[in-house]
């Protein structure tokens, strides 16, 4: 690395240019971007991730199955609940157990908290500044103080829900295999209702506001992949489906999708076996589960002009706002119907075996697979986070966008490319818990 601290550089000639962003900002983790243009054609697009490897799958071996939720949460400080949920469900799957009733509802409620926190962070702090030409939300706050304050308050309410259910918002301590260490009282949940009602109204306003942002004319015929549940918008359960023919139980994930260790970014790129890249996350959930959203959300979607389908990656900001609205409504529903369970968890004692867990992290499906032995020790672990699944799709979007905007002024094109990456709300810490990317620097 010539300047290991940070640098952004551009090289330009008439027909050949290289767009190089050495350190992507407003994303979680360390990534870089390189687009090579030769003779007015896009020659190469690389999303490089140089986040160092942390070897979670390796050091999980030999750990007790009950430790997996706490340990894997540390893969990502932005979506720890997703890791705790996928790991817990996988262990329960080994034991052949399905946790139902109020504990299941509380898990959905905890996930609502994470979606609210994570989506509010992305919509207001990380994504909106791109559309309005600000380098960050603090700069944006000078012109848009009400929106930034609203975003921060929404985020705070998501965090408060996680604090209550999880003990804290980053790496919650209450979730465990079988349920929770402690569950809230009716009274404690009731105390959240006023804030959540405010958050619901604020989310509606957010949908209205973000749908007025300037969007480029850019749509892609994606293969969307998400969970689908018989009667719910998906959080923790469902089959893995796509709009191009996939409809499988979790246990067949690795039969249909594969990861490849490629040298250029040495990221494991996920794609359909013998097929192309696919997209996970809010856009995929929305397009595949529109009929599972509440009437309020559907109406807001109609008014925003993206009812039922949305193929614009930039408009993911509207979809995230719709999911914010959904999460607030769902949280209110769960609190309204809550009856405190007698025991905060169910005893789960798996024998030797293999289990699968896949849940909808804010950024898309997070797949876990574990083998454990007779003593409950993990013998093998596989974790496929959403951002590593989206990586190939991000590169494909970049290629399409740059091909259509070759004449764009250099600095602007660079910013637009960054925005394409940020459309995905990439969580690089997640995707690289097992990846090491070498950057070619000359």
């Amino acid at each position: 690395m010539p300047n290991p601290i940070h640098s952004e550089k551009k090289v330009s000639t008439m027909k050949n240019k290289t767009i190089n962003v050495d350190y992507l900002s407003r994303v979680e983790g360390e990534g870089a971007l390189r687009v090579d243009i030769q003779d007015n054609q896009v020659k190469d697009v690389k999303l490089n991730i140089f986040e160092p490897p942390r070897y979670f799958e390796a050091f999980l071996r030999g750990r007790d199955f009950r430790e997996a939720p706490d340990i894997t949460a540390r893969i990502c400080g932005i979506c720890p609940v997703a890791y705790q949920m996928s790991a817990s469900h996988a262990m329960e799957d080994i034991a052949g157990r399905k946790i139902g009733g109020p504990i299941r509802e509380l898990r959905r409620l905890l996930y609502c908290g994470e979606w609210i926190e994570s989506h509010a962070l992305h919509v207001f702090m990380l994504h909106a500044p791109d559309f309005l030409g600000y380098e960050d939300a603090l700069q944006m706050a000078a012109e848009y103080p009400d929106q930034v304050k609203m975003g921060l308050k929404l985020k705070k309410i998501g965090n408060a829900l996680m604090d209550l259910l999880g003990g804290r918002s980053v790496h919650p301590i209450s979730p465990r295999v079988g349920g929770f260490y402690k569950v809230p009282t009716r009274q404690e949940l009731d105390a959240m209702v006023d804030d959540l009602k405010w958050a619901k109204d604020a989310s509606l306003e957010t949908v209205k506001w973000v749908s007025t942002l300037p969007f480029p004319d850019f749509e892609i015929d994606y293969e969307f992949v998400a969970l689908r549940h018989p009667d719910e918008y998906p959080f923790n359960e469902g089959r893995i489906v796509s709009n191009k023919g996939v409809d499988i139980p979790l246990s067949e994930f690795e039969k249909v999708f594969e990861e490849e260790h490629v040298q250029h970014s040495t990221a494991l790129h996920a794609h359909r076996k013998n097929g192309g890249p696919y997209l996970v996350g809010p856009l995929a959930r929305y397009n595949l589960n529109y009929d599972r959203l509440t009437p309020t959300v559907q109406k807001a979607a109609e008014e925003a002009g993206i009812a039922e389908t949305c193929k614009s990656p930039h408009k993911s900001i509207i979809v995230r706002s719709l999911e914010l609205l959904y999460a607030c409504e769902e949280a209110l529903r769960i609190i309204d119907q809550y009856a405190k369970p007698e025991c905060p968890y169910e005893e789960v004692k798996p024998g030797a075996g293999r289990g699968y867990g896949c849940t909808e992290a804010p950024r898309g499906i997070l797949y876990h697979r574990y083998d454990i032995d007779d003593n409950g020790a993990i013998t093998d672990a596989k974790i496929v986070p959403p951002t590593s699944q989206n990586q190939e799709m991000i590169e494909s979007d970049l290629r399409s966008y740059v091909e259509n905007h070759l004449e764009m002024e250099e600095e602007e094109l660079q910013w637009k490319c960054e925005q394409i990456v940020r459309n995905y709300d990439p969580c690089i810490s997640c995707s690289t818990h097992f990846l090491k990317l070498d950057i070619n620097r000359k």
Binding site: Y55, F56, L152, N159, S174, K436
Partner: protein, 259 residues
Amino acid sequence: MDNNQKPKLAVWKFASCDGCQLTLLNCEDELLAIADKIQIAYFPEATRAVVEGPYDLSLVEGSITTPEDKERIQKIREESNFLITIGACATSGGIQALRNFKDVKEFTSIVYASPEYISTLDTSTPIADHVEVDFELRGCPISKAQLLEVVNAFLFNRRPNIPSYSVCIECKRRGTPCVMVSQGEPCLGPVTQAGCGAICPFYNRGCYSCFGPKETPNERSLSRQFVKMGYTNEDLVRAYRMFNAQSDSFRKESEYYEE
């Protein structure tokens, strides 16, 4: 205040989960006030703007795990007046320091299809192993209140008021009955530095020490108690080898029971 008169803050990331720097963004009520007093000069998780160094205050998240990062932390130290590490990765090597007890080549081949692409050090080490650190903030993740206290102390040029006593004190203060005594739950609270607010015992579980060892911990005495409660040597090794496995006294204790 004009940006030029404000102290310059930089936030750096090494091997980590981003959760500690997220704690800064989680200061929803204070963030705009902080930005009023401090120029956020380098914080890629939040802004694409970059203000060149030197920096008055650097917050460093993450541990050192690659040859490149070993060099990068030196440059950051040179550019920083005060350097404060935030979180268990930066102060003790983090969960990824579990590699320090194993063969990294084997780890690499478990996780990667093409191990030859991977360049990594054999160990995950805290920032203080490489450069001088002015203050270490504990936790996996850090506490928001403690982060604000450290930033405030820096602004007013005073020593941060961060206690080094154990989690037990926080339990007593909170009125939480001891989980070891009342529920028979093994708890690392007696050897763990306070700061989290003793949330685990409050939620009916033993502390798993995300804040690492307190000042002058007596692990051996606690380990003996764990054995009486049914812990095997392997259980003890695992208990000390979590998020602060590489911290001196926990490492020694886990090695003692490994033999």
